[in-house]
């Protein structure tokens, strides 16, 4: 590790920096970005990440559709988004450069691996013959270019390692990371220890760990000695509340939330799922946690996954199934079964851009109406939506709590952006999380009377959860309409009408069990910006900026979509205008208008990406001024 004396000039201190690593999907950009994030997290910055990768695992090398990117925003301030404008970009190849340069702020640093800007590679990504963007005066005047022959330097620095060309070539990303670590004064220890663990300990390849570490150091020394940068930058630690922190992505937090819910309920958890982007890593994560009594099942399809979960719920486990939008569509009928059976079930939907296969690796919030209405007949169920990566932990526990308290399926609407994005998380003390109380009736509870599987808790309207294996409570549940109380098949018209209303009322009653909608800013006024789910970070940052520009605006964010918090109408009626930004064409607006007859102004952008803060600021300001 170089010492402080090696720095000749004082670094420039910045509040926040947004870096984007980009290159071919085989260039290890996700790993590189993840390492920069880990290092910054442990250093003490606040941060938010945005991994952006193609659906193709290894698209033809060097093409624009195979570009993989990882953006990280790190700061000494409190931040909520991965940032709109890139301050520094690291492009490992021309395709990465081409697809990302437009997001770099004018004057921003652009570090390129110039060795890859060959005639062949330039042609592959569609640059005209004879044109090389890194020699284009217009571009080189607009940005601060740093051209580094990374491939050659990596090769040279590892020439005596005795390793093959392929292994050496794979270390280029670490060379690039070394440069960036130097530029932003980051320590190398976290990454060195990661490389040792990954290659030397886990894979038994100490020589691979060694060359990666050497490439990292070589990049760092290059930064120090090459004098190609205008300055070195320092982003001081953020002032976080006291406590223990870790980095967490939404899907990781979802996993931990479900494990915690199982422990708090003192129950095994069954997670049945079929692999689907971007929900698969919830299944991966849980599959590794069997020691906590987690049973994961990779089902043969989406329908099998939810039905297996329903069977597990019937037999008394905490049952969860996970998917993304297309899978939610396939699970529709079975969700209807679960709500007819009145069994607890959590259905995770990590939303992605669609319809059909759509943009599987990109984010969207367009499953809200599907979650709300995407089933046959009258089939309301509870819908919750985490608002940030770390909030997934809390909301996953909430989903389980509501499912068992009200004996109903609960849809948990996360999205690809918060699912894969990461932020620092102040680790909660588990003792502060209340237990989830579950009781299964026994024969003693009903005494000599016949057990009534559809009797109701007068408060919640939940039915008893009697599980197979309990002597004396043998009963049948089924998808046919049931008679109140007995649960026997019933075709009686009045009974059906009553049961339809009862199931709806039960879900509506859950409003009494969820927190009120909080308003940020004045509790009444001209404009309320209402968001839901994963857009919290962008909206919050935009609101801060609109206020900093001298405008008055309040905001509120829904984490419970069905039922809405009981004060929702009251909150909305306290403002003249309701602005709803959503990454869809206005689905929450549809719900608000139909439920409350309150008009809304939508900000709807559906590009498969999180909102840009500057767009929200502009659009919210327009409404505030009008």
């Amino acid at each position: 590790m170089p010492t402080e004396q090696s720095i000749e000039t004082q670094p420039t201190t910045l509040d926040s920096v947004v870096i984007r690593f980009c290159g071919d999907s085989g260039d290890g950009m996700q790993l590189t970005g993840g390492q920069f994030t880990d290092t910054s997290a442990i250093f003490g910055n606040d941060f938010a990440t945005f991994p952006d990768f193609p659906a193709e695992i290894r698209a033809p090398k060097g093409t624009t559709f195979g570009v993989s990117g990882f953006q990280v925003h790190f700061s000494s301030e409190h931040i909520h988004t991965p940032g709109d404008r890139v301050n520094a970009m690291i492009a490992m190849n021309p395709a990465g450069f081409k697809m990302n340069i437009m997001d770099v702020e004018p004057g921003g640093i652009v570090i390129v691996n110039e060795d890859e800007f060959t005639k062949n590679n330039l042609t592959k990504c569609g640059y005209l013959d004879g044109y090389n963007p890194i020699d284009d005066d217009e571009l080189t005047n607009k940005y601060h270019f740093v051209k580094v022959p990374m491939s050659r330097l990596t090769r040279e620095s590892l020439a005596d390692s005795g390793m093959g060309a392929k292994d050496i070539n794979r270390c280029r990303n670490m060379f690039a990371l070394g440069i960036v670590y130097w530029l932003y004064e980051r320590p190398l220890e976290t990454t060195k220890s990661y490389l040792n663990k990954k290659f030397a300990v886990k894979k038994g390849l100490p020589e691979v760990a060694k060359i990666n570490i050497r490439a990292l150091e070589a990049g760092y020394y290059f930064g120090e000695t090459a004098e190609v940068f205008p300055a070195r930058y320092r982003v001081p630690k953020a002032k976080h509340e006291k406590g223990t922190y870790r980095q967490i992505s939404g899907n990781e937090a979802t996993v931990l939330g479900f494990v915690t819910a199982g422990q708090k309920a003192n129950k095994p958890v069954v997670y049945a799922s079929y692999p689907i982007t971007p929900a698969s890593n919830v299944l991966h994560g849980l599959a590794h946690l069997k020691r906590f009594g987690i049973k994961t099942i990779q089902a043969e399809d989406e329908i099998a996954a939810i039905c297996t979960a329903i069977g597990a719920s019937f037999a008394g486990d905490i049952a969860i199934t996970g998917t993304s939008g297309p899978g939610l569509a396939l699970k529709g009928e079975a969700m209807g079964l679960a709500l007819m059976l009145e069994l607890p079930l959590v259905v995770v939907d990590v939303q992605r851009a669609g319809p059909a296969t759509g943009l599987p690796t990109k984010t969207e919030q367009a499953d809200l109406l599907q979650a709300m209405y995407g089933r046959h007949c009258e089939s309301p169920l509870i819908i919750v939506a985490p608002r940030s990566p770390s909030d997934c932990f809390k909301m996953a526990i909430e989903a389980v709590r509501l499912a068992v308290e009200f004996m109903t399926p609960v849809i948990y609407l996360s999205d690809g952006y918060i699912g894969n994005g990461a932020e620092p998380w102040k680790i909660p003390n588990l003792e502060s999380i209340p237990d989830i109380k579950i009781t299964h009736p026994t024969k003693e509870d009903s005494g000599d009377e016949k057990f009534l599987p559809y009797a109701r808790n007068p408060e919640t309207l939940a039915r008893p959860w009697a599980i197979p294996g309990t002597p004396g409570l043998e009963h049948r549940v089924g998808s046919l309409e049931k008679e109140a109380e007995t649960g026997n098949v019933s075709y009686d018209p009045d009974n059906h009408d009553m049961m339809v209303r009862l199931r709806a009322k039960k879900v509506a009653n859950a409003a009494a069990s969820i927190p009120l909608l909080e308003v940020d800013g004045d509790s009444s006024g001209d404009v309320l910006v209402l968001g839901w789910g994963g857009t919290y970070g962008s909206i919050t940052t935009a609101i801060e900026q609109v206020r900093a520009n001298g405008h008055k605006v309040s905001s509120a964010h829904l984490q419970y979509l069905n039922p809405f918090p009981s004060n929702t109408e009251e909150v909305l009626r306290s403002f003249k205008k309701i602005v709803i930004p959503e990454i869809n064409l206005g689905q929450l607006s549809v719900l608000i208008r139909s439920k409350f007859l309150i008009d809304t102004i939508g900000i709807n952008i559906v590009k498969g990406k999180p909102f840009k803060v500057e767009t929200l600021v502009e659009r919210i300001t327009e409404v505030v001024k009008s």
């Binding site: 870790r246 049973k295 039905c307 069977g311 008394g316 197979p468 049948r476």
Partner: protein, 344 residues
């Protein structure tokens, strides 16, 4: 936490009546399903289990009403998904005796996928297929087991679908217990149901069941007093394949292929005949292809393999092993992770 109570050493003495609900059975008079219901109710007292440990799961169809008539735990689910539900029940609580009763449409058309995957996983579930070769509940359309050319409301010019072979499919999917019986053969069915429930792993029983409304007599070539001896063959483990009214016919291998022979002609004796070995997968494949009119159709336990571990055992073993290896799970340590930092 509610745990499964340790079982009493002495089981109550049950009769078929203990497994009968107060619900009116709503099948058509004369339906073959009655025979199966009766056989199952009669078989359960002999299976050494407490009543509360039985779970019957079904999909949709006439046969799928079955759980409503069994005084056990039960779930009538949605079309085709009974096996997925049953897998979940077994995964949650492997102590339960889980049985799926459904029809040919449910198990081999809309739910065909789950049938294959349940079998290949060897989930410890017993499956009773009530095969009537027709869609009864939707009023008589052809089913995936209907013969090609079947005239039905959806195939007025004859069905152009070739039928699926449930036994062949089960064998191909690696099902570890494959059996077949006739709805009219109460004795045969009783023995098979008991063996099926005792079997550790997926057991599959195809019942030739008569739908006397929409497909009456579909199985008469095999189920009648005069046709049964000539057109079916009861296979018994360790015994030669002999059938016929006069027990004079048998099956032998001829150049690797089964061949119908008559004992006593051309010098053929019992010792020339194939001896049934229920553990032999090759024989099971052969039985799957033996069809009327070329061959008598095999009845009985065609295949039983106890060597393969069950899905639920493997799954719970992984959980138990992880618990044993990981020691007392520390949730706080898990959520803290390995790369945390302190802000002071």
């Amino acid at each position: 936490m509610s745990t499964i109570e340790p079982k009493k050493t002495e089981l109550p003495i049950y009769t078929a009546k203990d497994f009968t609900t107060d619900q009116d059975v709503r099948w058509c008079p004369g339906c073959g399903d009655y025979a199966v219901l009766s056989a199952v109710r009669k078989a359960l007292p002999d299976i050494q289990r407490n009543k509360e440990d039985f779970v019957f799961v079904s999909g949709i169809g006439c046969a799928a009403r079955f759980p409503y008539y069994m005084e056990t735990y039960g779930m009538h689910s949605i079309h085709g998904r009974a096996l997925a539900v049953a897998t979940g029940v077994k995964v949650a609580n492997p102590q339960l005796e889980v049985c799926v009763v459904s029809g040919d449409g449910d198990l081999f058309s809309i739910g065909g996928n789950h049938t294959i995957h349940t079998m290949r996983r060897n989930v410890d579930i017993s499956i009773l297929l009530l095969n009537n070769k027709i869609y009864g509940l939707t009023k008589g359309q052809y089913s995936p087991t209907s013969e090609a050319g079947k005239i039905s409301p959806t195939s007025p010019a004859g069905s152009i679908d070739f039928p699926i072979n449930p036994i062949a499919t089960s064998v191909a999917a690696g099902c570890t217990f494959v059996a077949r019986c006739l709805d009219v053969d109460m004795k045969g069915m009783d023995a098979i149901i008991k063996r099926a429930m005792d079997h550790r792993g997926t057991s599959f029983v195809e019942v030739y069941q008569d739908c006397n409304i929409f497909n009456h007599k579909a199985w008469f070539y095999a189920s009648q007093k005069d046709t049964m001896p000539e057109n079916t063959i009861k296979v018994e483990h360790g015994k030669p394949l002999i059938y016929g009214k006069d027990r004079d016919k048998g099956i032998r291998f001829n150049n690797g292929r089964p061949e119908v022979v008559t004992i006593g002609t051309d010098g053929i004796t019992e010792s020339d005949l194939i001896v049934h070995d229920e553990t032999d997968m090759f024989l099971a494949s052969m039985y799957a292809q033996m069809a009327h009119p070329e061959f008598p159709e095999p009845m009985g336990i065609l295949h039983a393999d106890t060597s393969k571990p069950t899905y639920n055992d493997l799954l719970h073993k992984q959980v138990d092993d992880a618990k044993a290896m990981g020691g007392q799970p520390d949730l706080q340590a898990l959520i803290t992770g390995t790369e945390s930092w302190e802000v002071v």
